[in-house]
Every structure is written in C-alpha cells, then in structure tokens.
C-alpha cells in the first residue's frame, strides 16, 4: 500500500478491510466446495460420494452468504454471482490449502481435517462477532462444520490406524498438505482494523493444535515437519492449480451470462 492510503477516512478503511475479510472467508469455502465436488462419481463408495457432496454443498451455502455480504460491504454493485464467476485468479483471497488438487482419498481427508478443524474454531470465535451477519452465519455454520470435522476425524483415525498401506497413505497425505497449515493462522491484512468483528486467525491456533494433535496421535500418525510453507493466498498469490480450477467453475456463467434454471 502507498502512503496515500492514510488519507482515506477511517470508515472507508474499515469498509475495505471488512470486504476483504469476508472475501477471504467466502473464497475458502467456495474453492473447497468446487474441489470436493470433483469427488462426485469418483469416491470409493456411493455413500462417501454423497457425504463429500453434502460437505461441498454446506460450504457453497456459506460462500453464497459471505459473497453476497462482501458485495454489499464493498459497495461496487457486485452480487454473489459476479464475485464468484467474474473475478480472475489474482482477485481470489482464499488460502492455498483449499485449491490444491484432491490427490488420493487420504490427501483429501488430510485437507478436510486441517481445514474443517480451522473452520470450526473460526466459526466458534465468530459467534460473538459484533457484526450480526457474521454472528448469524457462524451460528448455522458451526454445526455444519462440526460434522465435516467429525467426518474427517473418522477417516483419519481409520486410515492411520488401519493397514500398513492405509497408514502409509494417510501419513503421506498429511505430509503433502501440512506446508499449507501456517497460512491459515497468519494474520490477514486488514484484520487489525476489525476488532470484535473479525476473528484473529492466530488466536485460533492453540485450540486447533490441541484437537488435531490428539486426532493424529490416536491415528498413530506423526505431525509432519515441513521444510517449506505456503503464503500469499489472502493477497491473491496462488498455486498454478487455481488457474485450472477457475475456468471449470466459471465457464457456464461466462459463456451464458445471466442464465438461470
């Protein structure tokens, strides 16, 4: 940011920060919903197919509420569809964890454990947000995410403490996704301008560490010690994978603007 931003009235700074914060939360849910949707017809069993689609739809519902609200706060006349389908890669504010490919089922479950564990703490913290929309969304979403987290926990336990093959794959899944953990708890730009409205990501870490640590120990797995870490998603820097995900997600809306069922 240039020095001239200090000249912007405090109200506008807060508005920009709030719109950005909402977009970050929305994009996390939106992009992960798209990724989980890729499992449909490809899950190990039809029951798991339905379970993953249910989780994806919960996330999509959260994203719609957040995007609609972000559009209003932003005040540029963009609705939820404009924000979901007409932004390009650099305008997406999601963490990189949610955009990485599904990998095998163990990679997806590792990502689900990490992310739903984070979202659970996030929505619990937002229950007391002074913004009525965020508090209301959190009250609904925390129940949904409690189930997402439980679903991941069940699988991580079974795969980790299962056969040699499932144990190896589950550990590989954790190793693959762990470099993306730090970014979740990084203080996003603008959060400091939103006391009592937003949840400081760093404050969610201790509860997450404690819960995830217990699950991983029960699953006879080891917490990875990655040698690198992802960063930059909240500022619009993404992996190459988001660039391939977006055309598939946005194709219909861009090819047929305003189309409806």
């Amino acid at each position: 940011m240039s020095a001239s931003t200090t000249a912007v009235p405090a109200g506008d700074l807060v508005r920009t920060a709030f719109a950005g914060y909402l977009l970050g939360l929305a994009d996390d849910s939106l992009i992960l919903a798209q990724r989980l949707g890729e499992w449909v017809t490809r899950a190990p069993q039809i029951e798991e197919d339905i379970a993953l689609a249910n989780i994806a739809l919960d996330l999509l519902g959260q994203a719609r509420t957040l995007l609609a609200c972000a559009g209003k706060v932003e005040g540029l006349g963009r609705d939820e569809d404009d924000l979901a389908f007409l932004r390009d890669e650099r305008e997406f504010r999601n963490v990189q964890l949610v955009e990485i490919p599904n990998g095998d089922f163990a990679v997806t479950m590792a990502r689900q454990l990490i992310f739903s564990g984070y979202q659970y703490e996030l929505y619990r913290a937002l229950l007391t947000s002074t913004d009525p929309m965020l508090a209301g969304l959190a009250a609904k979403a925390v129940k949904e995410v409690a189930y997402h987290r439980d679903h991941a926990v069940q699988w991580v336990r079974r795969l980790g403490d299962g056969t040699d093959e499932s144990h190896t794959r589950m550990q590989t899944g954790l190793d693959h996704t762990w470099p993306y953990v730090e970014e979740l708890f990084e203080r996003a730009p603008g959060v400091a301008a939103l006391p009592r409205i937003a949840a400081d990501p760093a404050s969610l870490r201790p509860a997450w560490d404690s819960f995830i640590g217990t699950v991983i120990a029960e699953a006879t797995l080891t917490i990875p010690q990655p040698t690198w870490r992802a960063r930059g998603g909240r500022a619009g820097y993404h992996t190459e994978y988001l660039g391939h995900l977006l055309p598939e997600m946005q194709y219909l809306h861009r090819a047929h603007p305003g189309a409806s069922w």
């Binding site: 069993q45 039809i46 029951e47 339905i50 249910n54």
Partner: protein, 105 residues
C-alpha cells in the same frame, strides 16, 4: 472397530458390509426401515445413514443394524406362515363398538 457378525473375509475383500437403516421421523413415532447402505463399521454406517437418508430433515434418530444380523422369513414359507391367518375374522377387533373419545385404536 466393530466388524459386524456374519462378515466373511470374502465380503470384506469385495467391499464394505451392508447395513439396514431405521430412522425415527419425530418424537413419539417408532423407527422405520428406510433402506440399506454400505459402511466399514457401525460408526461410519450411522454417518453414512445421516448423509444418505436424513439430508432433508427426515429424522431425529437413526439405528443401523448389520444386514447379516437380520433373520428373515423365507418366501417358500409364505403359505404356512401367513395363509392360516386369512380366514379368521374373529382375530380382528371389529366386533366391538369403539367408545367415543378413544383415538389411535
């Protein structure tokens, strides 16, 4: 983990065992059989049942039972099991006047 009785290594190799799903729609009603699904164990069967059968708010309680634990009457025994009941009208409570105010009889 609870492996349901009746699960052979053959079924385990082919895939997950089958479970019968019973859902109670609301308080005061009994659980009703809705269908069946595959799951590796009881805890996962409950979760799968939640996803497959109660997505639209259909239930307040779920039971899952290993299909292999259910003993069923055989179609071959249909005549000896059920036919003799057909002509015994006196077994039906249709010879009483139901008092006013008695509902759900």
């Amino acid at each position: 983990m609870t492996i349901p009785p009746g699960t052979t290594t053959a079924t385990a190799r082919r895939g997950w065992p089958l479970w019968e799903v019973f859902v109670r729609a609301r308080r005061g009603l009994s659980h009703q059989h809705l269908g069946s699904l595959h799951a590796p164990d009881a805890a996962m069967a409950l979760r799968n049942a939640r996803d497959v059968y109660t997505r639209r708010g259909e239930g307040v309680s779920i039971w899952v039972v290993p299909s292999a634990a259910i003993s069923a009457s055989s179609p071959d025994e249909k005549d000896s099991f059920f036919e003799p009941a057909m002509d015994k009208a006196y077994r039906h409570p249709s010879f009483y006047d139901v008092p006013d105010g008695v509902s759900h009889l």
